[in-house]
């Protein structure tokens, strides 16, 4: 699975680096690094909902560092991954 966090200007200013760092931390903690590839992206065309994050080339959602944990837990549950 691919997760792309936008590092375009609008998202960067709203803290995409913090979102990415949170992802990096939790992916390690949950041992999901081989299942989820975390990547950056430039503008995903949802600047008002920064920090934009694209999940598996599909929908773009608005993220904050706080939302990372519930998101990963939900994904893990969906895929029946043990975390």
């Amino acid at each position: 699975m691919d997760i792309n966090v936008c590092i375009g200007s609008a998202c960067h200013l709203k803290g995409s680096y913090d979102v990415i760092k949170e992802f990096q931390k939790l992916l390690k903690e949950y041992n999901l690094e081989d299942k989820i590839t975390l990547k950056g992206a430039f503008c995903l065309n949802h600047c008002v909902e920064a920090v934009s994050t694209k999940i598996d080339n599909e929908k773009v959602i608005s993220m904050t560092p706080e939302k990372v944990k519930p998101l990963l837990e939900e994904i893990a549950k969906e895929h029946k991954w043990n975390i």
């Binding site: 792309n4 590092i7 960067h12 200013l13 680096y17 950056g40 430039f42 503008c43």
Partner: protein, 481 residues
């Protein structure tokens, strides 16, 4: 929009490029240059030359280049019909000569080329060696130096004059710095243009990314960078990204390379970000080429990053530099950059879409660090590396020597060659003052350097480390070899 132009030649170029961009946006296959020439030169009175027919002929030649219809892919071209065949004699006696008693001109000439004819000084051009002594000694300032502006501006003596007195570029010597194109008062030298191709791709909804050089900050008068960013997105760019982020990548990579070279007892290394500087070494000091940093330029680094994250991205570098057009065409960098356009071309691209930049809302532009942004100014690369060394507590003896302009670049390379350089690192920028005074810039003012500094201070990330904190460069090829 009423732009302030630096000169009429700049304005003329704007009109021509804008017509080319319009043709691109309209996806026109066959463009009638005669029709466009008539629109640009409506007549009936000529504006600059002898008659409107000559003016239109020249415009058609300009359009040919602006529309990228020329077969020959050289970056800088002379428009033969526009070349005024300026005098080739360097020194001329003017009417101010009073045929005085002192006759310092005659007495100072080392080759007896000056003498009095009909009560006035006369220069025998068969003998004259163009040393300038007569001019220096004349108390009336009656001898003028009429060296052609193209030749005067060329730092490597690459402009030659053919039998019909038309300027010719010696491409063996040319380093693509573009100074002749900027300095010809008749606008007879110009750069190859991709503005039509870019406009056409935008019209075809190709995913285009604008990679914008830090010197953008001093370009548009009374306009905020955010307004330029918004304008670019409005005409169809998917995103606008600072090349200064590429500079941050370069700072890190180049510092690591420098440290390694010093450990291997290399005596010096040069920067590689200025393509004219690289060309200068390649053409004039072949035996020093291995001292050029193998780190790619910020443009290439960013181009590769964008393409790594967006596989279908088409990258357009927008900057003050004409030599970047040469760099981007090198086979080893073709994967990184699809088009290079100058700020002049950017202005016409926006003009073609009737975008009034100063009326636009602002979009943010913030991808890079303070240090990355300072690359645009002379001394910026060296100071960024110094800061990076300090921030990371690196143990290395870094002694930069700055070279301002191509002539100084060459001087420092020669000093290094003979072991006389007072340092171990040469920062080379072929334009005086750095990229901000590039030939494709819209303004060339003293205050520009300060404008860049103010803009650099607004970066969210202060240091290169901060800017690169989450940027994954592992997949990127950051060295030439």
């Amino acid at each position: 929009m009423e732009y302030k132009f630096e000169s009429n030649t700049q304005e003329l170029k704007y009109k021509v490029l804008k017509a080319a961009a319009k043709a691109g946006f309209n996806k026109e296959k066959r463009v009638s240059k005669s029709k466009l020439a008539k629109e640009i030169i409506p007549g009936p009175k000529p504006s600059f030359r002898c008659c409107i027919h000559k003016e239109r002929t020249i415009i058609k030649e300009r359009l040919q280049i602006a529309l990228h219809e020329e077969k020959d892919e050289s970056i800088i071209k002379v428009i033969d019909s526009a070349c005024e065949q300026c005098p080739i004699q360097r020194y001329t006696v003017t009417d101010a000569c009073r045929g005085c008693i002192a006759r310092s001109c005659e007495n100072s000439c080392p080759v007896d080329a000056v003498y009095m004819v009909a009560g006035r000084a006369y220069i025998n051009y068969e003998k004259c060696i163009e040393c300038g002594k007569c001019k220096e000694t004349c108390q009336f300032n009656a001898i003028s130096d009429t060296l052609r502006p193209c030749r005067r501006s060329c730092p490597v003596d690459a402009i030659e004059i053919d039998d019909s007195k038309i300027a010719k570029i010696n491409y063996e010597k040319c380093i693509s710095c573009g100074q002749c194109a900027y300095n010809c008062p008749f606008g007879a030298i110009t750069d190859i243009s991709y503005v039509k191709d870019v406009a056409q791709d935008l019209a075809n909804k190709v995913p285009m990314y604008a990679l914008i050089a830090p010197s953008i900050a001093s370009q548009f008068n009374n306009t905020k960078i955010g307004q330029v960013t918004h304008s670019l997105k409005k005409i169809g760019f998917k995103d606008v990204i600072e090349v200064a982020l590429g500079a941050d990548i370069v700072i890190k990579t180049e510092t690591e390379e420098f440290i390694q070279r010093m450990e291997e007892n290399n005596n010096y290394m040069t920067t590689s970000c200025c393509p004219s500087f690289v060309n200068l070494i390649e053409a004039n000091a072949k035996d020093q080429v291995n001292h050029i940093s193998t780190t790619v330029s910020p443009m290439v680094a960013l181009g590769r990053l964008v393409k790594d994250l967006h596989k279908d991205a088409v990258t357009v570098f927008i900057g003050p530099c004409i030599a970047k057009k040469h760099e981007a065409k090198k086979p080893e960098f073709k994967d990184a950059i699809d088009y290079v356009i100058t700020f002049e071309e950017l202005r016409s691209l926006l003009g073609a879409k009737d975008i009034v930049v100063c009326d636009m809302p602002e979009d943010p532009l913030n991808n890079a660090s303070y240090q990355g942004r300072m690359f645009a100014v002379q001394g910026g690369v060296a100071s960024s590396i110094t800061n990076y060394i300090i921030d990371n507590n690196l143990d290395v003896d870094f002694q930069p020597v700055l070279s301002n302009g191509a002539k100084e670049c060459l001087k420092n390379i020669n000093l290094a060659k003979y072991g006389k350089l007072k340092g171990n690192f040469i920062e080379g920028m072929a334009c005086n003052g750095g990229c901000i005074s590039g030939p494709g810039s819209l303004t060339h003012q003293k205050k520009d350097a300060n404008t860049i500094k103010q803009y650099a201070l607004k970066a969210k990330e202060k240091t290169t480390n901060d800017a690169l904190e989450v940027i994954n460069t592992l997949n990127l090829k950051l060295h030439k070899k």
